[in-house]
Symmetry: C2
Subunit: 118 residues, 2 copies
């Protein structure tokens, strides 16, 4: 009985403390890596361009993923008052600093998954 209490306290005290967990919550979600990749190097991309380039993403999913990335501070959303009016997504500084991650992923992929795409 007392043992049970001790165990509960212990499990609260020494949390896993996994250093990748917070980042995994973000980049471990479907489409996140691809979205960031397409926005690298200061590009500004529209919603429908992302849809086309990601090839098969659902607009609902893309919308909620972009919203999440905006809330996390990784993506910036700008309304462009042109004809026709549209929206442009680009990376914040925080998002740009994901480039080394992406580059390592691509490097690993080229070595171990080949140059195949899709």
């Amino acid at each position: 009985m007392e043992l049970a209490v001790d165990l509960r306290e212990a499990s609260l005290a020494n949390l896993p403390l996994c250093p990748v967990a917070p980042a995994a919550r973000i980049i471990g979600q479907k489409w996140t890596l691809q979205i960031v990749y397409y926005l690298l190097d200061g590009k500004s991309v529209r919603f429908c361009e992302l849809q086309d380039e990601l090839g098969g993403v659902n607009p609902s999913t893309l919308s909620s993923r972009l919203k999440m990335l905006e809330e996390e501070g990784i993506v910036r959303r700008r309304q462009i008052s042109a004809i026709p009016p549209h929206v442009e997504y680009s990376l914040t500084e925080m998002g740009c600093h994901l480039k080394p991650v992406i580059l390592e992923v691509i490097r690993w992929s080229n070595v171990w998954l080949g140059d195949r795409c899709e």
Copy 2:
């Protein structure tokens, strides 16, 4: 009518060719990054140890994720005939080469998400 056919062929011909897509299929799944992290540096870890360290993963999910990682050639599974008998998971060479990716993720996380864990 003929236009429709042309468009279909075109969409098959120039696939998105996103260099991160194949890797994203693997590391963009929940728990993958954390699993690889806990196996880094040649460690051999048991199923239940992973369960504990990942904190809250469902055994079904963990099982299927490990199976996927084994099929992809990233994780090795070994049955140990000891008392009691158990199973040890470790990284293959392909898996070990994910270390630079993980390190970049941690670096980015420390800068932009703080040192918080969980």
